[in-house]
Symmetry: C3
Subunit: 272 residues, 3 copies
């Protein structure tokens, strides 16, 4: 996993984020922490031009607006044309038809390299995508040791159906293409009490895939492991009286200080 | 006060926030700290649908836009129809006619459970609301020991006029319905040097009222006490060289770690 | 430098920020830290009215929208009419024609007191402004000891051309009017790993110029020195395992705790 992080540090890719205003600051700081550079821009009039200066595009459906949807499409087309790494984070896609319709039309228009969400988002997406109808039939509400075979099979099938790496994050994280699935056991439950850890991970994954174009699956898994490790380190150092706000800071700090060696050594995963 | 916090923790209500982009991250993290769940969404095309999945709606006039005003109305109507807890935070309502007109039309359209602001916001609101004309005559510029009788009477009268719990927060906090007024002396002056403590409190109050529908006044007061205690704990633990940015983190941490027993024990209020 | 900070603390100017959603929270907290007050509002329908209650206006092109451009123009005209301090932060002005065109039309319409950016932003601005064509010919890609004479000359010439104080921030900071240039050596490289330190500085400079109308150049320099010192103090206190997220907090804390004496004593600059 070492080299994927080091490639990000060495190349310092500029990542265009069209993302929600709730967690944009954390996404920017986590990209700076890992050694990449962030730019946020969601005005249709400049979206394609901005993305042309970048190496990767992170599209995130949180606090979606009609205006930003147009920016997503314009930036997505340009990024695709230029061969940039493109990631979709379908935040809350099950919560409104606007988000579902937007996700589907983006997926039809743009070939994403990675789609990352939690299990309910990925289920909603798989169930709502015409071209992949039925693929969600086997998806459970959470990835557990008991349903792991079923869920890795779902991740691989959905990856094949949408031609993208599929990352399902939660207590156990899955990162799959149609052939292989990384099953990752880094991370800790306290991370879910910090807003935006998913958005931050989406930013990181975009940077990792941008900097490792020949190993997109492995680089995606490395980003997920990195985020999980950051959570573990953050929780381990919490003092009495500290809580989720301190953890938010510590996780970004842990990414800032992460070395390739430590990532390699503390990574906890297998491939199925 | 214990049970009101514990009901939030047990029920983990999902709260829809239509709020400003300055403090949205803190509102999300404070809701996670108290055990509730946040969702932010302000696009008119999805506002009603999003709110239908929630238990409470927090409408905040900071960084108001014409677009978000429509989302507020659509979400507010749906939330009212579904019997959700609804709170209005009239940020800066005295600073522009757009905010004043928006507050008034929202209040005419939606019956809020709670209206929370500082004394100048509540005065501006009371003075500008046709149906409550004159109710602000007795309002001072700050709640002090000297004008406490006058201000509790103002809070009760304004509550009766707008059919909502009225919370006026400052050095002394008042939380009133038409009959009773909680006079709360938790908190500390340093809190005013952290942006968004009012917005955070509005998020918390929405969660408390959502989880305690039969004790809305008491639950509102409990949320105000919790925020004040968080400020006290945060300031007490500041080290030399630390300032408002550390305090921001410590306050959310204090809410994360708050127990019902401690809330009960350190609450400092009387009822008039 | 002492008195410029103390004037901010004494007068507590209210600053209107039309700025990006990525760093708005930090801009608000840094203004509170220094003793000023922030308000964020970018809806054209209220922009002029909001600014009329303030003392200074900070216009920042990050996450620019067509809607906010109109707010910038309306607020800018009103602020100019009222004699407020007005600052332009041309974030990413070289990255899109929308940002370049917006900066140019704002500069034609509004006479800014201060224009602050990094060297590439200032070069793009100088190169793209019709009325200052050619002024960028001598601008290098970074201010270094080697090109210092050339760059101070560029800053002075560009200041003369656009009738504003020009602040070019980086490893060495330049703050110039047409006659004098402060060359400031406070700060440290780690600051570039925290998102929004430039936006925060722009907020601070607006407050300093607002509170020191008779010494705009010196007050601008004082704000740049303050931000640089905050970075130095923040980095000096970093513990093992801490990184850019902790530094973000520590810098704002350092501004909260800064005294006039310390600012005076640790300022590191000369005037050319």
């Amino acid at each position: 996993m070492k080299e994927y992080l080091e490639n990000v540090r060495r190349q310092a890719p500029l990542i265009h984020n069209i993302t929600n205003y709730v967690t944009a600051n954390d996404v920017a700081n986590v990209l700076l922490a890992v050694g990449a550079s962030p730019i946020m821009a969601d005005e249709p009039d400049e979206a394609a031009e901005i993305t042309s200066h970048c190496r990767g595009l992170h599209i995130n459906l949180g606090t979606l607006h009609l205006r930003t949807i147009r920016a997503m499409l314009l930036a997505g087309r340009k990024a695709k044309e230029l061969g940039h790494a493109i990631l979709l984070d379908p935040v809350g896609v099950g919560a409104s038809s606007l988000r579902r319709d937007t996700a589907i039309s983006l997926m039809e228009e743009i070939r994403f390299d990675v789609i990352r969400g939690n299990v309910s988002e990925l289920k909603a997406l798989a169930g709502g995508t015409a071209s992949t109808g039925g693929v969600d039939a086997d998806a459970a509400d959470a990835v557990t040791e008991e349903n792991l075979d079923r869920m890795t099979a779902f991740a691989k099938r959905y990856s094949a159906a949408c031609h993208a790496i599929v990352a399902i994050t939660g207590a156990i994280d899955l990162v799959a293409d149609e052939d292989r699935c990384f099953v990752i056991r880094n991370g800790c439950p306290e991370m879910s009490r910090v807003t935006g850890t998913g958005c931050q991970l989406s930013g990181l994954m975009t940077a990792f895939v941008s900097a490792n174009p020949d190993h997109k699956l492995e680089a995606s898994a490395a980003a997920v492991i990195l985020m999980g490790l950051a959570g573990e380190i953050g929780v381990r150092h919490l003092q009495p009286g500290e809580g989720n706000a301190t953890l938010r800071t510590r996780m970004i700090d842990a990414i800032y200080n992460m070395t390739g060696e430590r990532l390699e050594r503390e990574a906890n995963y297998d491939i199925r």
